[in-house]
Amino acid sequence: VTGPSAPLEPVDPRADRQAALVAFLRGAGVVCFVLAVAALVPGEAGRVARGGVLGLLLAVPLARALWLAARWAVKGDGRYAAVAVAAAAIAACGAVVG
């Protein structure tokens, strides 16, 4: 008998589709915690870390929305890609109108 002994299971192309995003968010969470602890240090290092915490909390949700928009656009889901870009744009407006 040649060939594989067990029948091949069909692989769903959607399996692990969010793996890269999960890894990115996990890393961002760790960096946020490190920066928040470093922000308690007095002086220039603490000041930079405080800016880093704010920058991270502003940038990560927007980056996530734009990453999804790019992914959906590539997959042909243009309608929801546009929604994702609109949501990111509206959230980013806060810093402009403030």
Partner: protein, 273 residues
């Protein structure tokens, strides 16, 4: 604003309780800061920092479990972010007394929401047994795993929910809370999305809500980043522990205890206000 060690401890305790009860830490931390002597206008931006950090900390687990519906979250977030920006802008022009009373009302509504949370509405369906948990491309529908079963769902009444999200965002911006206690019931009760998916999707959206509000507060120079970072450091640690405790404690007991705590906070704020 209290000293840094107090803020770290406060962030840790509030995030722990918020994570255990599934209501988020900012709902507790903003009233707690006000009770400790901070102005409501000072406490709101700090609250939004903790909302953003809490959303970030919870995201990987919820995403890996296939509970987050990104398309649904982004559709409603177009309204919530706009409402948040409006609320944050208005909060600068509202008196301290009004903000404190508003915070009391928010705490009271959150207490009632914690008490009134429904059980299982969407049943598992055998047809979808082999379905991967997650959202279905190009739609506001999907499936999530419940034990060994798979539960399909499809969002309904998007229009009314979108309007309600505008209000949820406004409350977030003006009071500095995540608004998940409004968003989750809106998705669950109006859109008929399962509570677990609604809660995880809310957690995703409150991160964007926080970013929208923080942008306003940062641009206006109303953000005490030193105090905020202290609360975030404690909050991330407390949220990590709380998420692990959540599976051990009785959900009903926790929700009732939190409702009692929020009700007490609301009462104290009303008396103070």
């Amino acid at each position: 604003v209290p000293d840094l060690p107090v803020l770290v401890a406060l962030g840790a305790v509030c995030a722990l309780l918020g994570a255990v009860g599934g209501i988020g830490g900012a709902l507790l931390i903003v009233p707690a800061l006000v009770l400790l002597g901070a102005d409501a206008a000072e406490a709101a931006p700090i609250g939004l920092l903790t909302v953003g950090a809490g959303s970030l900390a919870a995201a990987p687990g919820q995403l890996a479990a296939g509970l987050v519906h990104h398309r649904l979250g982004l559709v409603v977030e177009t309204a919530a972010s706009a409402g948040t920006i409006a609320g944050a802008l208005v909060s600068g022009a509202v008196s301290e007394g009004v903000l404190t009373r508003l915070l009391a009302a928010v705490a009271l509504v959150a207490a009632l929401a914690a008490l009134g949370r429904r059980g299982l509405r969407n049943p598992p369906h055998a047809t979808f047994a082999a379905e991967l948990p997650g959202e279905w491309p190009g739609t506001l529908a999907g499936a999530y795993r419940l034990g060994d079963s798979v539960v399909p769902y499809a969002a309904q009444r998007v229009g009314p929910a979108w309007v309600a999200m505008l209000g949820a965002g406004f409350v977030s911006g003006i009071a500095g809370v995540g608004g998940g206690f409004i968003k989750t019931p809106v998705m669950s009760e109006i859109m008929r999305v399962p509570v677990k998916v609604a809660a995880a999707t809310s957690t995703f959206t409150v991160g964007m809500t926080a970013a929208a509000g923080l942008g306003v507060f940062a641009a206006q120079g109303r953000l005490d980043l030193r105090a905020g970072a202290a609360v975030v450091a404690g909050g991330l640690a407390g949220g990590f522990v709380g998420a692990r405790l959540q599976s051990v404690l009785s959900p009903l007991l926790v929700r009732r205890s939190l409702a009692a705590l929020l009700g007490t906070v609301a009462l104290v704020l009303v008396v103070r206000g």
